[in-house]
């Protein structure tokens, strides 16, 4: 294939031109959701330069606690050292490349390589080399041969992100105004969040962007994809329930949020149905009054960070017979494995200071509606895999998808939060913004 500037083949640059030409008109070619060459470019231009979510600090609260996480195919040990500092160390022995971490999670003061026995402290320093003198001589400098830390590691309110690009802007700058929406969850309690155990992990034959779009912008799909839950009386009777509320995006960043309220006439409790005491704490823990007021009117909140992190915080209940509501919160990483293939990492979280009964009920609400077996989510994965299959088909790949919903909608001037807001969630505005950012990074 002919290579042109930036290592992009002429085939791919023609395709990217097609994406660029259609985007402002709300047209996105199907092939972007399953193309091997594009995936290689995404690895290089997007995932090697973006802030990627790795872990929540509550997963590794004590010195020596670690979890194993991935950026692309790179395994990183996310470990809290004896000094309390969290590091992300490439799980690759500096001698000959063996993995030194032998579990997905645990607690370890050091990591010993099973190949030749080099041993690293949990801060990454090489401290043991078998037969060091005889093998490597008296001048061997162990200081040069520690585990390689991820180029950048920063966190926001307990959420730990890594970046493979040493020149990347700070996480704070990367997030920009989406922080206001992130804080609706991270600052709901002064104690912050904790995970309810390790993530569920499962593989779906789809593209990371398809999964992400659903959480970023596609409230339109709920009325058909999730119709079974409406039929069962679990989702609100008004099939258009996810239409109400605000869709907001952060221009230039690719991030977006959906802030859904109650359908007119529906009797849903304010503040997602969180217990009264949590509402009271939120009153003082939110940084601004606007955030508190927004949170009080919210029944479903989604935030998606470019490129592949989402959270979903809907009003819910643990089963269809339960009287009352128990909301749930899930964090997501749409981890790209290859063209048309992802691994989902899915966590359930809750406020640290939530009452014990609530923690248990919210865990059940999560398990029964979202995640690997969730009665909502299982229908999403079914559909995503068929779309990705078609996006790679010889005829289908040339079709252009319709992203024209809300193309002429005027922004809502009264929305109290930052970003560009629309007073209706049935719009593709967040997706068009995401794809603009996506294209910009691919072409950079």
């Amino acid at each position: 294939m002919a290579r042109v500037k930036g290592g992009v083949s002429s085939r791919l640059s023609r395709m990217l031109e097609e994406l660029q030409a259609g985007l402002e008109d709300g047209l996105v070619p199907a092939w972007i959701f399953n193309d091997p060459e594009l995936f290689e470019l995404e690895k290089e231009k997007i995932f090697s330069r973006s802030w990627v979510y790795l872990a929540h600090e509550s997963e590794i609260p004590n010195p020596g606690d670690y979890v194993l996480r991935y950026v692309l195919d790179n395994p990183y040990i996310l470990v809290r050292g004896e000094d309390g500092v969290v590091r992300a160390l490439l799980d690759m022995c500096r001698h000959r490349g063996m993995r030194v971490c032998r579990a997905e999670l645990g607690n370890a003061s050091h990591f010993r390589c099973p190949f030749h026995g080099w041993t690293y402290r949990n801060d990454g320093r090489l401290i043991g080399v078998p037969a060091e003198r005889e093998a490597f001589g008296p001048d061997f400098d162990k200081g040069q041969w520690g585990l390689v830390p991820i180029p950048r590691l920063e966190s926001f309110d307990g959420m730990i992100f890594g970046n493979l690009d040493p020149e990347a802007p700070s996480l704070e700058e990367w997030l920009g105004d989406i922080r206001w929406y992130l804080e609706l969850v991270t600052k709901r309690s002064p104690m912050g969040l904790e995970v309810l155990g390790p993530p569920q992990r499962w593989v779906v034959n789809t593209d990371w962007k398809l999964a992400l779009e659903t959480f970023l912008s596609d409230s339109y799909h709920t009325l058909m994809t999730h119709r079974s839950l409406i039929e069962l009386g679990i989702a609100p009777k008004d099939a258009k329930y996810a239409m109400y509320g605000e869709q907001v995006h952060i221009p230039g960043k690719g991030h977006g949020s959906m802030v859904v309220g109650a359908p007119p006439g529906a009797k849903l409790p304010p503040f997602w149905g969180y217990p009264e005491e949590m509402l009271e704490r939120a009153r003082t823990s939110y940084p601004t009054r606007e955030q508190f007021e927004t949170a009080r009117e919210t029944r479903i909140l989604l935030v998606t960070l470019f490129p592949n992190f989402s959270f979903h915080n809907p009003i819910r209940k643990p089963d269809h017979k339960y009287q009352g509501t128990v909301p749930m919160l899930t964090f997501r990483v749409w981890h790209p494995l290859g063209p048309g293939r992802i691994e989902i990492f899915s966590w359930a979280l809750v406020e640290k200071d939530a009452p014990a009964w609530f923690k248990e009920k919210t865990r059940l609400s999560y398990l029964r509606f979202f995640g690997s077996s969730g009665t909502f989510e299982q229908d999403d994965t079914e559909i995503w895999s068929h779309v990705a299959h078609n996006a790679a088909s010889t005829q289908g790949r040339h079709l252009r998808f319709n992203y024209r919903m809300g193309l002429n909608l005027a922004p809502d001037p009264n929305w109290p939060g930052p970003g560009v807001a629309y007073g209706l969630n049935f719009t593709d505005a967040n997706m068009r913004n995401f794809h603009r950012r996506y294209l910009e990074m691919l072409l950079a």
Binding site: E104, H320, E377
Partner: protein
């Protein structure tokens, strides 16, 4: 021997109901206080006590009671449960059945029943399929002369699930 045969029949009858999608009848095999769990499995080092490890206490793929299992069945009956509509072709292979000594309890006689399970799943007209292997650790209770499933813990042999959802029962 009679009891062994009765419990084996329960497991095989259950597999038949699940393979044929007769979920209402399957609910009839469950005790009303059933607890049905599929814990998340993670890769862990071999512990000092040996054996297998990585069965997580805190997080599950499924953590169900009778009401929530009934909800899942009711969902499949709505005609809009796309994950299983069209239905997956499922085959439950049940082997290595070990039946413990029954013990009397206030709710009836209970027996631990362990079995190995292999689930074959095929969807649409594609030749590919997924396989899930697990051990089931059950407690079956004798009620009114028959046996009911009172507790099931499914010990998965996968850490990352090789299938796009768990829209079926183990």
């Amino acid at each position: 021997m009679e009891r062994t045969q009765a419990l084996l029949n329960c497991l095989y009858q259950e597999a038949e109901l699940l393979d044929e999608g007769r979920y209402r009848e399957w609910l009839g095999l469950l005790a009303e206080d059933v607890r049905y769990q599929v814990p998340v499995r993670v890769t862990k080092e071999r512990g000092p006590e040996g054996g297998v490890s990585g069965v997580m206490e805190g997080m599950c793929h499924l953590d169900e009671d009778y009401t929530s299992l009934e909800m899942r069945v009711a969902r499949l009956e709505t005609g809009f449960a796309w994950a299983e509509d069209p239905p997956s072709r499922l085959r439950h292979f049940v082997t290595n059945v070990r039946i413990g000594e029954p013990k009397p309890t206030p709710l009836g006689e209970e027996a631990e029943v362990r079995s190995n399970l292999l689930i074959f799943r095929s969807r649409w007209d594609r030749p590919d399929y997924t396989l899930l292997a697990a051990e089931r650790r059950d407690v079956w209770r004798q009620v009114d002369g028959g046996w009911r499933l009172a507790r099931r813990t499914v010990i998965l042999d996968s850490a990352t699930l090789p299938t796009h959802n768990l829209s079926f029962f183990f």
